[in-house]
Symmetry: C2
């Protein structure tokens, strides 16, 4: 085989992975990486943690350098170079050297586009003030670090993954932090109830949160920037971090006539090939296939980018053995102080927006056996297809073991497992690690109980005044954390002896702290002839989530 | 429906789960639990942790009491009662009250046998000395606690799950601990190389370990017990804990003529029914189906017991909706001090013993991104079916995130996933939790690289003196932790420039610390025409596992 030439545009996740795999598959290929920025293959997910000081050495973020990629992989890495035009008919790319403005053409046999995505900077008055930052690379990070050396007041706009990490790290560095989010919850990819713990943890660390509000415009002042919100609220900031989303850097592809998706992402096939068979694309700038529904989707995250880059290299250098990229799921997690929360697959709001049928349950449990020291509460929500029982998505929130449950459920979703399959997952159990019945098993049990019509559960308190709401918590708990409605308190252990306190001709709703005792109570009442439903997931919002209550074994 | 009577023999994991589920399904059933011991539904997996003081309150281990089961579930719990005979034709069981020796018959409509399994006490001279303990219940635990109040020297016989937990906890309590194991490794369910870290962690905490040796007999002395090992070695102990396995308590079932398996376990169908359709059985005393191979097997653990009890209750009280128990996988984990190790599915030695074809790879990685503080090494081994690529088993060892990897791989095995599927599991990634390519993805990559003939890897160093062994580690590392063989040191970044140092007519083996650089080197050499193999998994045994070396991204 003559020396093939692979030209890679973009040297971070997808581009660097593609080039590294390409070298292992083809020692004699000429492999060049063109990178606009000064750094390649840096740890972009680590940037917020350096700003807050949790990562103290900047050089650990520069995972590889042009020199190390040369010595390890014999790659030719050209930084501060921008690809400005693709000449597809002559298979060459025009490159501009950003340091001196000179341009040159570089030829390719195969071209990989891994341009990534840019943080959104909406065209608002005042947006160009130098104290308004976005965070994409080490240079952006350095600018924010410099701003935090003197600034004391930060406004973070957007409470998604980067926004929450930035809010945490700026607070950690000692700044006062205001967080603004357009939606009425933090962490918009999750369903609102699953973000309650995250929000309370942020507030506990004195992060001021404004929800359901957005930036109208900025007013640059001498010593600070004034942020005008659409509600009329005004915040003052020494620095502003915008983390409201990204847009694909697909102009080069568009200008070259490659097919783009409806939101401007590069369209690729299952081997990451664009509409030009000699041009591949991967990472945040491409459209991919949703692994749950099979629709086209966009998942701008590090894991998919790395694996897509690798698939492309396989297809270029060993096409007979390459296996397709199976699509993305959108598994994601965020940590804010002591709390973690995350999602995999589809959320309830996304299913509703797409008008797809689903069912959902939420269960409360702990990360490990409650009798072993350090048990902390954990909340798990699963969503499934009503007919087949196939899992569509899951969310988890809590203090420990959140990543573990998400990973197991991501694997289950990819495998096409049903809620019934969750009942009998056999997970690793010793008291420091889990429980004989893990929260994931419990979620499966709860889903199957609904399917078997053992319980009629609801997540809304009834308006109907004829419904008898029975709070089955112990009286002291019921008194200390009253339910937001009129209740009859009948602690569960006394329920069978007190059936005569309830009117059999009126419906009953049972509720408790975590949704377990109210289920037990609903089973008792249903079998005694009552029309009963159960308040799913419990009133835990009214219980201090940091002081886990002991729950009986199911 | 008239009031059906369910009689449950054994009130711990399987029996208590069955009774609790039965009550939720049938409010008017008469449900009685007969328990030989003084306690029901206690946390048997927590017993070692109370002995060591990690769990400080005894009452948290008594998860439920007869009184709480009465008030919560309206169960009739009879402790210190032993079932001594089943009269199947009259559907009744003879019960002996252990406190006064009186007997009575109790009838049943359905009978659940959940007798559990007893710790083995081999019939050796001296075995009946009261200072020789086993650990099954709270009474056993109390006796060991009393013995540790005065005893200073403990011998633990058997280095399986309970043995390691006991060794750790007795050391924690301040005793000097000797651990004796018949096999030549600790934690016999795992393959030996995967137990190296566990063994070094135990030794680091001054636990003396004797491997490949067993007890010949005991000699009770006035102040201590002398333990004679088959090797001739003699250990002195103030207390001895035997943890060498269990045998099913299936005498009652045998006497009643129920079918038993080859090792005395009760044979059940997929709904936990014995050969008598009115008698069910669950837990440590039953045979079950291996979830990987479909063979009959025995998995005496808490998770399966709980879920089997539940399946039986479903089949008794809602037979039309009950779903079968799908079999057990044998997922298990143990923690010893800072180290955790575990297994799911089949090990290499078990596959070898059964003469089943398999392939295996071992990869070294960290629990999360290495640039985020606190990254610690982790080793993962996966085994798969050569033709199909289907996963057969997995093992993990390290400091953190071991339970997570085992749980994901247990789920993947249950789902019938292949090594190829592991490449594209989309796991939760943020720097504190994981990496863009998780260790599980890397294991999938490594397996597929072998399948695609990109690498010819081996786990044995060659005897053949013509093989050129190339150590590609940095020279200081190679000098400080020399390989156990003659090597040529060519640090990987200098390899391409030093190909002339190697003889192209002789085979090459590449090796490094973790198995990654040696793979890179093997790819370079293979493409330059060398016949090369790669030492899989690296020489990590020669690197201090507690000081993780930085590894480049793949």
């Amino acid at each position: 085989m003559p020396s093939p030439k692979l030209l890679v545009i973009g040297g971070v996740a997808a581009g660097a992975s593609c080039a590294a795999r390409a070298r292992r598959l083809c020692e004699n290929a000429e492999i060049t990486i063109i990178e606009r920025g000064p750094d390649v293959s840096f740890a972009n997910c680590g940037l917020p943690y350096f700003i807050g000081g949790e990562i103290s050495a900047r050089d650990v973020l520069a995972v590889q350098t042009p020199a190390s990629l040369k010595s390890l992989l014999n790659l030719d890495v050209q930084t501060r170079c921008e690809a400005i035009r693709i000449d597809r008919s002559n298979k060459r790319v025009e490159i501009r050297h950003l340091e001196n403005g000179s341009t040159e053409w570089q030829s390719y046999d195969k071209l990989m586009l891994a341009p990534g995505a840019s943080p959104l900077r909406p065209d608002l008055p005042g947006i160009n003030d130098p104290r308004i930052f976005t965070l994409r690379n080490l240079e952006d990070m350095d600018h924010i670090v410099t701003a935090t050396d003197t600034g004391m007041r930060a406004v973070v706009v957007g409470a998604g993954f980067i926004g929450l990490e930035m809010a945490e790290q700026l607070q950690r560095k000692g700044l006062s932090v205001q967080l603004v989010e357009l939606q009425k919850q933090v962490m918009p990819p999750l369903d609102a109830p699953m973000t309650a713990l995250l929000e309370s943890e942020l507030r506990r660390h004195n992060i001021a949160i404004t929800l359901g509000d957005g930036i109208a415009h900025f007013e640059p002042c001498t010593d600070f920037v004034r942020c005008y919100l659409t509600s009329g609220k005004v915040l003052e900031a020494d620095l502003v971090v915008l983390s409201i989303g990204v847009k694909p850097d697909s102009e080069l592809a568009r200008a070259a006539g490659l097919n783009l998706g409806p939101r401007g992402h590069i369209v690729v096939d299952e081997f990451q090939r664009t509409s030009d068979p000699d041009i591949y694309a991967a990472g945040d700038a491409v459209e991919t296939t949703d692994r749950v529904m099979g629709d086209k989707t966009v998942v701008p995250m590090g894991g998919p980018a790395n694996r897509q880059g690798r698939v492309a290299a396989d297809h270029i250098f060993m096409p007979d053995k390459a296996r397709p990229y199976p699509g993305s799921l959108g598994t994601a997690i965020v940590r804010a102080f002591d709390v973690a929360a995350g999602i995999t697959g589809w959320s309830e709001k996304r299913l509703n927006a797409a008008k797809r049928p689903y069912e959902a349950v939420t269960v409360n449990d702990h990360q490990h056996a409650t009798y072993y020291p350090g048990a902390k509460p954990l909340t798990l929500k699963i969503l499934w297809e009503p007919e087949s029982g196939r899992l569509l998505g899951a969310q988890a929130s809590g203090f420990e073991g959140i990543d573990k449950r998400l990973d197991v459920l991501a694997t289950a979703i990819i495998a096409g497992m049903t809620v019934e399959d969750l009942c009998h997952l056999e997970l690793a159990y010793a008291p420091p690690f889990g429980a004989a019945k893990d929260a994931i098993n419990l979620a499966g049990f709860a889903a199957c109980n609904r399917r078997d019509a053992l319980v009629n559960d609801t997540t809304v308190l009834p308006d109907d005044p004829t419904v008898q709401i029975v709070d089955v918590r112990p009286k002291p708990l019921s008194d200390a954390f009253p339910a937001p409605c009129k209740v009859i308190n009948i602690p569960f252990p006394t329920l069978r002896a007190n059936l005569d306190k309830l009117d059999r001709n009126r419906p009953v709703l049972t509720l408790c702290a975590f949704g377990k005792m109210s289920y037990f109570a609903a089973r008792v009442l249903a079998q005694h002839g009552f029309t009963v439903s159960c308040f799913s997931g419990g009133l835990k919002a009214n219980v201090d989530p940091r002081s886990p209550a002991k729950m009986p074994t199911p």
